[in-house]
Amino acid sequence: MNFWMQIFANPELYAATLAMATPIALAAVGGTFSERTGVVNIAMEGIMLVGAFFGVMVAAATHSAWLGMFGGVIAGGLMALALAWPAIRLQSDQVIVGMALNVFAGGLTAFLLNTVYGYNGTPTSTPSLPIVTLPWISHIPFIGQVIGQHDVVVYLMFLFVILGHFTLFHTNLGLRMRAVGEHPEAAETVGISVVKIRYLGVTIGGMLSGLAGVYLSLGMLSSFEVNMTNGRGFIALAAMIFGKWTPFGAFGAALLFGFATALSIALQGSGVSANLVGILPYALTIVALTGLIGRSRPPAADGLPYVATK
């Protein structure tokens, strides 16, 4: 009993939860944007990986973590365009394109890591993103320890979750995005360009996934390792579905997954099998993807190519 109290009363656990939830929440909000406009995005894993690599590469080359972040986000956006073009213009099967991109991203980043940096990996001099300490809040007991001091991307994540919700549900653009994802023909007949809106949705999604990747490489480690996303893109996919295609929902689901990960770390060396707890986020993913917990309804035109008539 005492043992569990110690674990759960420790603010470190919750701080770690936030840190672990950040990349998942960012990518999940990104995926929400993509799917709300009707393009299924299972390429978040690959896009994160590319964002992570180019984040480090630009940061190492310019000696600026901020420029690195910028580079990673742009790379994520470009990678998303590689999904958007076949999905929107060529009306390809979006799941297949997404899967191909995941495989491609894994190969591309491993190849570039080897060719550009060789055996030693990314340079140790790569700057990392700053840690921010919130002035007043960090002094509050417990709460301050949980949210008071984090990598800057964690706070950016909060910003983008709120901004994402606001954009989707309180702006004209958001209304149009949702309309395109529900019924593209209806949107087209009232003069909305389905193609433009979908490109925008997918690109925003890619940039957020890119930022999630940057957080992994420049935020947590300041280096890049092969396949360092380690399935987080797919967990983000599950978080997006769990969150019923809303930014706040995605954030809540990401917290759940983050907590499971943080718990498995906290339990290491405690006698409870960390491997067993380590299963948690993945088990939750399966539960989410098979729709066992409450059926959530995807946007009606999600995954359906739109063929414009002329």
Partner: protein, 534 residues
């Protein structure tokens, strides 16, 4: 003189000629790959009138509408509004010019509210009516208020906060009309607006159309139903094979004339039926209950029987349990309660295959989705149902030669065109696809044929053919369960008619004692025993 100056003068001149021809179509042409969809289409629509466009399926009405609404670009010809020639590059251009279209399949987003649907696409416009509308932010409340104000001023009240998916079809249509007028439509085009409505809802729609006319808004009313055209329009233009063949005041044209122009030959408006001795009951349905995919009960204790040599028609508005009833009978849907007997045997819990073996044949509603495998050849489609039997296979091996011979026979017997058994089913026209299905189902000499909307979307010629086959089957002493949304089809074919409403069979009557009005009442559930007696 500059071209714009000249246009302006022409515009002025036209204005002075009072409000003649608000919308003019001059020599519009459009072809796709090999098909000429519109050739030399002419149309003059005057302000404040209702102009009907009458034509069979495939006559080119939809193509014309899509060009007027900016979805298609014409190959040649002109569209002019108020005398000014328009070049619509997109639906947006057409909307801005004042073209309002209510499509046959509503362009509404079910998951969104009425107000969101109506405002969508115009939220960024700022003008006199919506002075404080923000370019960036979407304000639900403001949208709802402006929609409510407009709908009330038009005399078409709707709840702006209601989700579209919760509205009846008639209400959804009203949302579409308000949506068009919200965009300041100067011409309103209604594409087959009555196809989904009850007779009562149709009357309401006609009242709305007349009111719009009074307000000076012309309505283009697309239809293939003669009665409706005669009831609501003042002018009618008949289209056939992509051309406008005739324009006349409705008052000057008889129904027979209109039908003649539409089809290009004399049409028999009624199918002739032989007397067939009715035998014992073949299908007995008792207190049947079944739910739809969302687990809501759609069939709530339905009982009826179909006798030998009889066509039993099931009428009703779409979505009142007909689909679920049929699926429960053919075995595609689990039965919640009650029983289904075929020739005195309980088949209610048998698999589809067992039911087929006992003599049920099925013509599904969606011939392309459920009736055929479009990428398979005609021959393959013809053997699908009984592929494990001779002549299609022996001991598990396909017997190709015998199967092909059989297919060739059927194709000839049922007059499938072209009679090429290796052509893919997807390459056939709708009418010929339906013939392939009928050939497959009827050639098994079924005890009971269940046909759902067998003539949906077919032209008059093909409909005649399908009806002839159904009557032939009846003459052979077989039983037919016919489900249709077309009252005329039910009235001209069925011996007895059962009307479905809200999952119940409200009434079963002999065709002789039935009027369209009483059917309409029963379809809306407003049926009482008293009326049955009187």
């Amino acid at each position: 003189m500059t071209p714009t100056g000249r246009d302006h003068l022409i515009f002025r001149a036209r204005e002075e000629m009072s409000c003649l021809a608000l919308l003019e179509i001059r020599g519009l042409c459009k072809s796709f790959a090999h098909v000429v969809a519109n050739a030399d289409v002419y149309l003059d629509v005057e302000a404040g009138t209702t102009h009907a466009i009458l034509g069979e399926n495939g006559a080119g009405k939809s193509t014309l509408i899509k060009m007027i609404s900016g979805l298609y670009r014409p190959d040649s010809g002109e569209i002019a509004l108020d005398g000014a020639v328009q070049h619509f590059a997109s639906p947006r251009d057409a909307i801005l010019a004042g073209i309002g279209v209510v499509h046959q399949h509503f362009m509404l987003i079910p998951a969104m509210t009425v107000a969101e649907n109506i405002v969508l696409g115009t939220e960024r416009q700022r003008d006199a009516a919506t002075p404080r509308q923000s370019r960036l932010l979407f304000n639900r409340k403001r949208a709802a208020v402006s929609v409510q104000e407009l709908s009330e001023s038009l005399g078409l009240p709707i709840d702006p906060w209601a989700k579209v998916e919760t509205l009846s079809v008639g209400m959804q249509q009203r949302v579409e009309i308000v949506k068009a007028l919200y965009r300041r439509a100067r011409v309103l085009i209604l594409d087959e607006p009555t196809a989904v409505l009850t007779p009562q809802e149709t009357e309401e729609l006609f009242a709305v159309i007349r009111k719009l006319n009074q307000d000076g808004i012309p309505v283009i009313f697309i239809s293939h139903k003669l009665d409706e055209v005669r009831a609501v329009a003042s002018t009618v233009t008949v289209m056939r094979a992509g051309k406008t063949v005739r324009t006349a005041p409705v008052a000057d044209a008889t129904a027979a004339q209109l039908a003649n122009w539409m089809v290009g030959r004399d049409v028999i408006l009624q199918s002739r039926k032989e007397e067939v001795a009715v035998g014992d009951s073949v299908l007995e349905v008792k207190n049947l209950r079944a739910s739809d995919d969302r687990k809501t009960e759609k069939v709530r204790g339905v009982s009826f029987s179909v006798r030998r040599g009889e066509i039993f028609g099931v009428a009703g508005i779409d979505g009142n349990g007909q689909t679920e009833l049929v699926e429960a009978i053919v075995g595609l849907r689990k039965v919640n309660g009650g029983s289904v007997h075929l020739l005195d045997r309980d088949i209610g819990h048998m698999s589809v295959g067992e039911r087929i073996a006992r003599g049920i044949a099925y013509v599904p509603q969606d011939r392309q989705q459920d009736g055929l495998i479009l990428s398979f050849s005609i021959a393959e489609n013809l053997q699908l149902r009984e592929v494990s039997k001779a002549p299609f296979s022996r001991r598990g091996w396909l017997t190709r030669a015998a199967a092909r011979k059989r297919a060739q026979q059927l194709v000839e017997e049922f007059d499938v065109r072209p009679p090429v058994i290796d052509a893919s089913a997807g390459s056939l026209s709708g009418g010929n696809q339906q013939k392939v299905i009928l050939a497959r189902e009827m050639s098994r000499n079924p005890e009971l044929l269940v046909a759902v909307q067998p003539t949906r979307g077919l032209d008059v010629g093909a409909i005649e053919g399908i009806h002839r086959y159904l009557l032939q089957l009846r003459a052979e002493g077989r039983s037919i369960l016919l489900v249709s949304l077309e009252l005329d089809e039910i009235l001209s074919l069925a011996d007895r008619i059962g009307v479905m409403h809200a999952g119940e069979m409200v009434v079963v009557m002999d065709n002789q004692n039935v009027t369209r009005e009483s059917l309409g009442l029963a379809m809306t559930g407003k049926w009482s025993e008293k009326e049955a007696i009187s």
